[in-house]
């Protein structure tokens, strides 16, 4: 893998001057992912923050060919683009080596785009699907998605007098992707550039579909300090809230395994979406979150064969 100096010299594929919020994790994810290949890339983007804030006509922040079609179809859009590439390359009409990436938020990936993603993974297109996971529908105003964590307050599942935010746990999307038996699946987070670039490099070089779920904090939606994006991401890893692992040709590997995990309250207390959980009567809910994370951590470790 390239070192930081070399990565810094890679051409920027998304320019500054876009209109993503201060502190947004998504463009960090995009820059890190796209710095991991020397080949030309073509990007498909699901509807979402990243799409709307980078392409307000007549401006575009994208220095590479880029396409947005709809919310739920980034994976089927990129399959069409990749099929066109295969076809025209076979006929000698396209000569270059090109890589294909789809970016979608968690709403566009875990929820409305899951079928299209599953179809594209199963069909074996050679592409990298990147879910920038900020745990909610942020573009439409912080609504609950199936990536929203337990008890988080969102605008469609707010904490109230009798209900304390989301009552369900988020689903394990990376595991769903891995169940397609594709060459490469990984879960990573924006605070660890070397982990991201390493995984993205493997994803780009995989001879088939690859899926990366990248934790990308949304300070706006999480009610957090926008100068603390990277810290939020790091805390998610250090508490075990967001395990960092990869599945390479079916082999699971835990990439970050601290000697002791920080208590989950270290992560939760940084964000307004969990504020209600720190009321005295909600102490059992905090305990529930901690015990869930402990159990999940052990489960992931077991799958990965980690000590």
């Amino acid at each position: 893998m390239a070192n930081l100096k070399e990565i810094a010299k890679m051409p920027e594929r998304i320019s500054g001057g876009h209109r993503m919020c201060a502190g947004c994790g998504a463009p960090i994810a995009v820059r890190q992912i796209l710095s991991a290949t020397k080949h030309d890339v073509i990007v498909a983007n699901a509807t979402g923050c990243l799409e709307v804030a980078t392409t307000i006509y007549p401006y575009s922040a994208w220095k590479v060919p880029w396409m947005h079609s709809a919310f739920e179809n980034a994976a089927s859009t990129i399959s069409g683009i990749e099929a066109a590439y295969r076809s025209l390359k076979r006929k000698g009409k396209v000569k270059k080596e090109i890589r294909f990436v789809a970016f979608g938020g968690d709403g566009g990936t875990y929820d409305i785009g899951l079928q299209a993603l599953s179809g594209a993974l199963e069909r074996g297109h050679r592409f990298v699907y990147v879910c920038y996971d900020n745990e909610g529908y942020m573009n439409t105003g912080i609504q609950r998605s199936s990536a929203t964590p337990l008890y988080a307050s969102t605008t469609t599942d707010p904490a109230g007098k009798i209900r304390q935010g989301k009552q369900e746990r988020r689903k394990m999307l990376a595991e769903i992707a891995a169940a397609h038996r594709i060459p490469y699946v990984a879960q990573t987070a924006i605070h660890n550039w070397s982990d991201v670039v390493n995984k993205a490099t493997k994803a780009f070089e995989a001879d088939g579909p690859a899926f990366i779920n990248i934790f990308a904090p949304c300070p706006r939606g999480w009610r957090a300090d926008e100068s603390k994006t990277v810290m939020l991401s790091r805390l998610a890893a250090e508490t075990g809230f967001w395990p960092m692992f990869e599945v390479e040709n079916g082999e699971w590997k835990l990439n970050y395994n601290p000697a002791s995990r920080k208590p989950i309250t270290e992560f939760l207390k940084t964000q307004g979406r969990f504020k209600h959980l720190f009321r005295p009567e909600n102490a059992p809910l905090l305990e529930k979150i901690q015990s869930n994370i402990d159990a999940e951590w052990e489960r992931i470790k077991k799958i990965c064969g980690a000590e």
């Binding site: 030309d40 073509i42 498909a44 799409e51 709307v52 392409t55 307000i56 006509y57 007549p58 575009s60 994208w62 220095k63 590479v64 060919p65 880029w66 396409m67 947005h68 079609s69 709809a70 739920e72 179809n73 994976a75 089927s76 859009t77 990129i78 399959s79 069409g80 683009i81 099929a83 066109a84 590439y85 295969r86 076809s87 025209l88 076979r90 006929k91 396209v94 270059k96 090109i98 079928q115 299209a116 599953s118 179809g119 594209a120 199963e122 069909r123």
Partner: protein
């Protein structure tokens, strides 16, 4: 000129359409099964399996992905096609607009079938009529031969730089799609010469010139972009005529915007589209023998709608019965509305009589059409548009 080797072949409508696709040899085709379109997907998949085409075939997991896939492929720079029916078209709905608004000349056979509920696999036009404002050209086909010709013609028009819009080629489910008729195919090279190479101006695959396709477009530009799309649709008429003349020279068949069947001196005209027109022609022939001045106007191009030409073609008739095979709940049928709009500012105009027929595959035979013609003199005497009549329906 028509070559001798272009013999008549016994083909179903779906096979005729699949053969047009084989001859077009698209770069990318997305397939997903839905009755009664499935046979097109199957036949084309066999062409791929046998090496008759060098298409990249994408066997998608839904029609939504079929349309999304061909939209991506077309934007990438590939000539791209798919086909569907009914619920499949309904599932594509959102992306139909993306295809037309991104100016991607995708050609899609639509094998007309009723929409749910209740579920019904048989023919009516609710599917394509519902999509009539999606910015796609719509060509309707009386039989397998027309469906075949229309696919090739539609591709030529859609890809014209003055148009750059997607096109649906509609044919009646089962009635046309599954009936074997004599169809004459052009030879492959003639088709390929006629359609030429697909050369999109700004393909995604041209990485040297990166383009942003499908940006966020607000109140400051969106309207202008829609205006351009309207312009593209208006340009279809002139492009259609040129392409139709060119194809006509190769096939010896004519491709008017609509067919005027014994309408010149007709007092009573039926307007319809697709397979019912074949039945109506037989009735017209029979009634003409009895010296009845009746005729049929068969619409081929429904989007864009050639309103001036159609108004002129029916101006001398006493009564024009408009047969719709899809309901517009709470209003008149879509074909009726188009015709009414076409004639509304004419000084002397025929009286229109709206009919609804054939929903969910309800049979329409010669006797039904004859009955329509026989009802029209009464409409002429009463001098006003009657309430919609339902053909072959049990009211009690």
């Amino acid at each position: 000129m028509v070559k001798k080797q272009n013999k008549l072949l016994p083909l179903t409508g779906n096979e005729a359409v699949a053969n047009a696709m084989r001859q077009i040899n698209p770069d990318v085709v997305a397939v997903f099964p839905i009755t009664p379109q499935t046979a097109i997907a199957q036949a084309f998949a066999q062409f791929v399996a046998d090496g008759d085409v060098d298409t990249e075939l994408v066997r998608v997991e839904s029609e939504h992905s079929a349309m999304s896939c061909v939209v991506g492929a077309a934007a990438a720079g590939a000539r791209s096609m798919t086909a569907t029916s009914s619920a499949g078209l309904a599932l594509m709905w959102e992306i139909l607009y993306v295809a037309s608004s991104t100016r991607l000349p995708i050609v899609m056979p639509v094998v007309n079938r009723a929409l749910s509920a209740p579920i019904n696999i048989h023919c009516d036009h609710s599917d394509s009529m519902g999509a009539r404002d999606a910015g796609w050209l719509q060509l309707y086909s009386e039989d397998g031969q027309e469906a075949y010709d229309n696919v090739i013609l539609a591709l030529k028009i859609a890809e014209d730089k003055d148009v750059l819009l997607p096109a649906m080629v509609c044919l009646d489910g089962f009635i046309t799609s599954h009936s074997v008729e004599a169809v004459q195919l052009l030879d492959d090279r003639t088709v390929r010469r006629f359609i030429g190479a697909y050369k999109p101006a700004h393909p995604l695959l041209n990485v040297q010139k990166p383009v942003t396709v499908g940006p966020l477009d607000f109140f400051d530009y969106y309207f202008e972009h829609k205006r351009q799309q309207i312009e593209g649709m208006e340009n279809v008429f002139k492009v259609y005529k040129k392409a139709a003349n060119e194809l006509s020279k190769l096939t010896n068949r004519k491709y008017p915007l609509f067919e005027e069947y014994k309408t010149k001196d007709a007092e009573y005209i039926i307007i319809a589209l697709n397979s019912t027109c074949g039945t109506a022609k037989a009735v017209v022939d029979e009634m003409r023998k009895q010296k009845k001045k009746v005729g049929l106007l068969k619409i081929r191009l429904f989007r864009p709608f050639p309103k001036k030409e159609i108004a002129k073609a029916i101006e001398k008739a006493n009564v024009v019965a408009v047969l719709d095979r899809s309901a517009s709940f709470g209003s008149d049928g879509p074909v009726f509305l188009e015709v009414a709009n076409a004639i509304h500012d004419m000084k002397k105009k025929p009286i229109l009589a709206p009919y609804l027929y054939g929903l969910g595959g309800r049979e329409i035979g010669m006797a039904h059409i004859r009955q329509v013609f026989e009802e029209l003199p009464k409409v002429a005497r009463e001098k006003k548009t009657p309430a919609v009549k339902y053909i072959n329906l049990r009211e009690k």
